[in-house]
Amino acid sequence: MEHVVDLAYLNDISGGNELVRNKFLQVVKVEFPQEKAAYFDLMKSKKNKEAAELVHKIKNKFGILGLNNGYQIAVDYEEGLKVEDYSLKTNFETVLTVVSNYIQKI
């Protein structure tokens, strides 16, 4: 499944103001890599509960970036992590990569 960033939501709340929209994207650019790194650290340490909490935060960014399928994957993965179900791990991490690639370009 292809995941494509869609800025419709950010355009909506920016009222079409590109400067405001870019300010939000800059925050994503700062905050997302930290959250992604923290997620992999927690997974490595098998701290599932804390990792699920982080997935909860990351999914919000998926939603803001219009990654609706990615958002749903994150919702299910967050619940899965709490019961040691890793079946959506690869799918979730694919969406992480999509966001990383996107923010490298902006």
């Binding site: 939501y9 909506d12 709340i13 920016s14 009222g15 405001v20 300010k23 939000f24 925050v27 994503v28 700062v30 905050e31 909490e53 909860h56 935060k57 999914k59 919000n60 960014k61 939603g63 803001i64």
Partner: protein
């Protein structure tokens, strides 16, 4: 209205800030990444409204709700819709926003905030009005679906208790209110009202006739308990 935003995500804080900034009636005093920091601030500052994220590490939004005054108005902002039903237990929660929050949805929130504050001011305004007009004590306000409705004592026919609710029957319409007979009885003047049965308080000036164990008010027949009958008879201007 001055407000604060509590959210441990920088992006969410910025988005809330943007949404709030589009409304001239709302003004952000501060943004906080944790509830603890916000509590310290609230110790010294009064705010009208708090935009509160639920999911935060160590001290969650739910913990925060249990800590603050029940009068403090709060709008919940969360990615988790599962707390929505539980949030109804908190009278101070004005709205429940699920992220990502659209500008259209936020417009509804602003309307709800304005309604909540109008409701809060209504009793004070009514009280001021009473003082100005010298008409204190001839009315009360009942809360129906977060709307305060003024009832003149003289318009109330009777009140019936039904489970967790009371039914207030007036000349024009009936109201179902989540309250007890005792609470409303305490607010009504004894000169007009009396309890004639464990489930009924009546405006005894509205009585049309009395039979052995009941009174007729408009078209309603209301039972009189045996113990209350002498009190009722004593209060009537009875020609024998």
């Amino acid at each position: 209205m001055n407000c604060i935003v509590i959210d441990d995500e920088m992006l969410s804080q910025e988005i809330m800030g943007q949404l709030i900034s589009t409304h001239s009636k709302l003004e952000i005093a501060e943004k906080f990444p944790s509830c603890i920091a916000a509590l310290k601030y609230l110790g010294d500052h009064k705010v009208d409204l708090i935009f509160l994220d639920l999911h935060m590490k160590d001290f969650s939004g739910v913990d925060f709700l249990k800590t603050i005054s029940s009068d403090q108005k709060v709008v919940l902002t969360t990615s988790d819709p599962s707390f929505a039903s539980a949030s109804y237990e908190y009278d101070n929660i004005v709205d429940y926003l699920v992220k990502p929050i659209t500008s259209d949805r936020f417009e509804k929130t602003v309307s709800r905030i304005e309604a909540a504050f109008a409701e809060q001011k209504a009793p004070k305004a009514a009280s001021a009005d009473k003082e100005e007009n010298g008409s204190a004590g001839d009315e009360l306000f009942i809360n129906i679906d977060r709307r305060l409705i003024k009832l003149k004592f003289k318009d109330i026919l009777f009140i019936e208790a039904k489970g967790d609710y009371i039914h207030v029957k007036t000349i024009k319409e009936d109201f179902r209110v989540h309250s007890t007979l005792k609470k409303i009885k305490d607010k009504l003047p004894e000169s007009l009202f009396m309890q004639i049965h464990r489930s009924y308080v009546i405006n005894f000036t509205k009585i049309i006739d009395i039979q052995d164990n009941s009174v007729l008010i408009e078209k309603s027949v209301i039972p009189i308990s045996r113990s209350q009958r002498p009190n009722l008879m004593q209060r009537l201007n009875l020609l024998q």
